[in-house]
């Protein structure tokens, strides 16, 4: 069993507009990218479970081959900077992805 953090070169999150946070997982090489893509460990369903959100909040899930990347986007419950928002730029929402296990 390998963790996603060992296979990815970049794992990041950031605002995409004021109402969404987008997550990018980039792999240094094609082999790691394909391994994760084929593993079935990174899916809408898996992301919804991990973050304990309804799947409807995941607005996009994209496998982006030119960048050896997988990205997904979640809708914020209120726009960035609203009272109570602790991450204005959505920049620290990715760490739970590290421990996803890849067969």
């Amino acid at each position: 069993m390998t963790r996603l953090v060992e296979l990815a070169s970049t794992i990041r999150s950031k605002n995409a507009g004021v109402d969404h946070i987008t997550f990018d997982i980039l792999f240094r090489d094609r082999a790691n990218f394909e391994r994760v893509r084929e593993s079935g460990a990174l899916t809408r369903d898996a992301i919804a479970c991990l973050y304990r959100i309804p799947e409807s909040r995941i607005t996009d899930f994209v496998v982006f081959e030119p960048a050896n990347a997988i990205k997904f986007t979640i809708r914020r419950t209120s726009s960035n900077g609203a009272f109570g928002d602790a991450d204005l730029f959505g920049a620290q929402q990715y760490p739970p992805l590290f421990d996803i296990e890849i067969v």
Partner: protein, 389 residues
Amino acid sequence: MLLAARRLDVPMIVGSASDTGTDAAVDRFIGLIRGIAKRHSLPPFKLTAIYSELSVEAVRKYLAGGRVLEGLDGRDRATDEDLAATDRIVAVMGAEPIAAALADGAQVVICGRASDPSIFAAPLLNAGHTPANAFFAGKALECASFCAEPFMGKETVLGVISDAGVDVSAMNSKQRCTPTSVAAHTMYERVNPFREYVPGGYVDLTACQYEQIDPITTRVTGQRFVRDDVYRTKLEGSGKVAERRLFIAGIRDPYIINLIDQVIDLAKERLRKRFGPIGEGYDVHYHLYGRNAVMGDLDPSPAQAPHELGVVVDVMCTDAELAEQICHIAAKALFMTRLPEIKGTAGTAAIFLDEVLTAQPVYRWTLNHVMEVDDPHELFRTVAHTIAS
């Protein structure tokens, strides 16, 4: 930047002055330019300011005329209530007003709110390049070396646009632009990496080919520009919600940390008794650094027993004096918690600054909408100045 641009006689374009692009921000930047020009005795040059602020009244009239503002990102159409909650609106300019300023001889352009790729696309369009190449280049270059590897922050990158495509090169000797690094940047801060929306249309990246043509350069071809049938300008609006006060406290006692939810419930109970229901006229949020302040409900594994807990008491209220009082009580309740399990009875929080801090007011995004316009220039005001030291 200004000194180099004037020495080389190339135009300098600043997009989204001060990030927000308000009129005041544009004027502040003009003041900075004047000051630098004077300090360095620069020969006279032409500065063009492009303002992008819209009055709430103008937008209200637009709606009253029976027209609509469609929402972006799943928002509903804008309502009169949205406008009533709005203090400031900026329209996001495309390449057109910037290109016109440059064609008119501007040597420095200070823009109000502008889409990032547009400030790069404007001179390229003037030079006769296709919108596909101009806007793709803008997207690739907008964050400097974010399109290069390894990641180093914002180093210089060079874009060369020709009929062969868009060539992007890293200028820092430790970096390279590779097919994957350039492709990866196209998805940065975007929901969808296949469409880069700009005012007037989008760049379709579905068929892009990324090719390494030398050790530091990647050539991109296959981008296509799809023009909207109706020109839409994005409006960004914000409105003041309330005054804000903060208090910072730290907790070390493991019993208190363990009972923190109960401690906060008790604190909130005191607030309700004194100020009425939370959420009606005021609100309070306890940021628990050390547990799950950063991710909140999205955190799958909040720390159960952190060694220390940092608490930021965040209070908003429309009335400034009341905000101060509420924050004071919300914070002092942490210091004077009385629960049977807690042995420390002389103070239940560490306070390094016994003072309610005044923060800037709370604002929220009220508009993230698009307005249909007949002319890409119509929401923007261009003013030319001669800057003479």
